[in-house]
Subunit: 232 residues, 2 copies
Amino acid sequence: MARDTVPAAPARPLRRDAELNRRRIIDAARVVFGSRGLEATLDDIAHYAGLGVGTVYRRFPGKEQLVEAMFAERMDEIRALAEQALEAADPWQGFVDFTWQAAELHADDRGLREVMLSNVFGHEQVAEAKARLVPMITKVVERAQRSGQLRADFVPTDLPLIHQMIGSVIEYTHVTQTHVWKRCLALLLDGLRAEPGKASELPYPPLDLQSLDDAMCNFRLPRSGDRSGIPR
Amino acid sequence: MARDTVPAAPARPLRRDAELNRRRIIDAARVVFGSRGLEATLDDIAHYAGLGVGTVYRRFPGKEQLVEAMFAERMDEIRALAEQALEAADPWQGFVDFTWQAAELHADDRGLREVMLSNVFGHEQVAEAKARLVPMITKVVERAQRSGQLRADFVPTDLPLIHQMIGSVIEYTHVTQTHVWKRCLALLLDGLRAEPGKASELPYPPLDLQSLDDAMCNFRLPRSGDRSGIPR
DNA sequence: GACTATGTGGAGTAGGTGTCTCCCCTTATG
DNA sequence: CATAAGGGGAGACACCTACTCCACATAGTC
C-alpha cells in the first residue's frame, strides 16, 4: 500500500537544486501535457524544462507517476465545481454550469481531458479522486431532475459521454477554431432540457458503470506526430 | 480526370488468378478497414486475405490507392441517402433520417467514418465525391429549416461536427456497448428541433468551409495497438 | 578550498511498429 | 512444355518511444 510512487515525504530532503528541478519538471509537464496530451514523452517534458532526460527519470519512475503527481490536485478543481453546482440556487443552472465549466477545463488542458475520460493513466490517486466524484455528479443530476428541468431519462453515466463528444470536437477543431465546441455543447444542452411532449424517447438504455469503465480502459490516445501547440 | 490510380481498364487483362486475388484483397480491405479503421496496415489486409504482402503491394501502390478503390463507391451510398432525404414528404423527417442513417453507416464501418471525417486519405475520387455531397447536404438542411422544424441557427458545417461527436462515442464504447451512440444522437437531435422560446442562443459562430477543411486535414487516427474487432 | 554525496546530461541501447522491396518459387496459359 | 506473369514472406529500412548509464558538475560540509 505504501508505494511511494511520488515520494511525498522522502527520508532525506532533496538537495536544493534537485528540488528546484523537480518543480521545473512538474511545471513543464503541466504545459506539455496540457497542449500535447498524454502522448507527450518524458523526453519532451525534459527538453521543455531545459533538463536532461535522465534527471526526469531519476525523479519520476515513469510517465504514470508523473501524471499522478500532476493531476491528482487538479481533480480537486472539478470536485469544487460539483460542490458549487450542488449549492446553486437553480438546480438546472447548477447542472448546466457544472457541465459547461468542466468542458472549459477540458478545452484548456488536453491532458486533463484524457485523464478524466480514460483509465489508462492515473490508477491510484487520480482513480480515487474520480471515484469520489461519482456520488456528487449523481446528486447534481438527480437534483436537476427533481426540479423538473433536466429530462428524466438522463442518467449520470451520460455525462462522460457528453464530455467525450465535446472533447472530440475540441480535438477536431483545435487547429483553427478553438471555440466551436461551445456551439455543440449548447445544442446538446438544449436537448437535455425537459420539454413536456417534445423530447423523443431515447432509443437505447444508458451505460452501466461497468461498461463505462470498460470504455475508459479502452480509451485510445490519438496517433502521435503532432508537434504543434507546444509553446516556446 | 482519367487518373487510373486504380487501373479500371488495364492495357492487358490480369491473369485469372491475379484478378481473383485482386478481389480477395478488396474484400479483405473492406472487412479490415471496417473494423480496425484506416490504421490497419496492408500487411494486416494481406494476412486476412490469406495472401502475401508482396501480392498486395504489386496490385496497389500503397494504402492511399486501396482506400480510394474501396471507398469511392461507398460514397455513392451516402449520396443516395441525401437524395432520399430531399424527397421525403416531411423535410424534418428527411433531415433526421439522413443524419441517422449516415451515423448507422459510420457505426458499421470505422474506415468509412474516418474517410468521411478526415482528409488525410482519399485525395482523388473520394474528395470529389465529398465535394459533390456538399450542395446536397446544404439543401437538406435548408429545406428542414424552411419548414420551420430545424432551428434556424443550424448550419451545414455543423453536421460533420455532429458525426464527429457520434463517431467518438462509437469509438469510445465499441468494446462492450455498441449502440449507446443512439442515445447520444437522440439527445442531440432533440437539441436541433426548433422550439420557439426554448432554444438557447448559440454561443459561437459556425465553422466556415475553410476551417472545416483544416480540421479534416488535421484529423488524427487513434494510436494503434488495438487488434480487437478483426473477425476471424 | 577541498572533499564527497548527490545530482545532471544526453548519447546510447533495446524494443516496438509500419512501409515497402527483393528474389526465389509457383502457376496459368498458349 | 516453355515462359511470362504472379505469389510469398523474410527482411531491409526508417521511423518511433521508454529507459539506462556513467563521465562530469555541483551543493553542502568541515
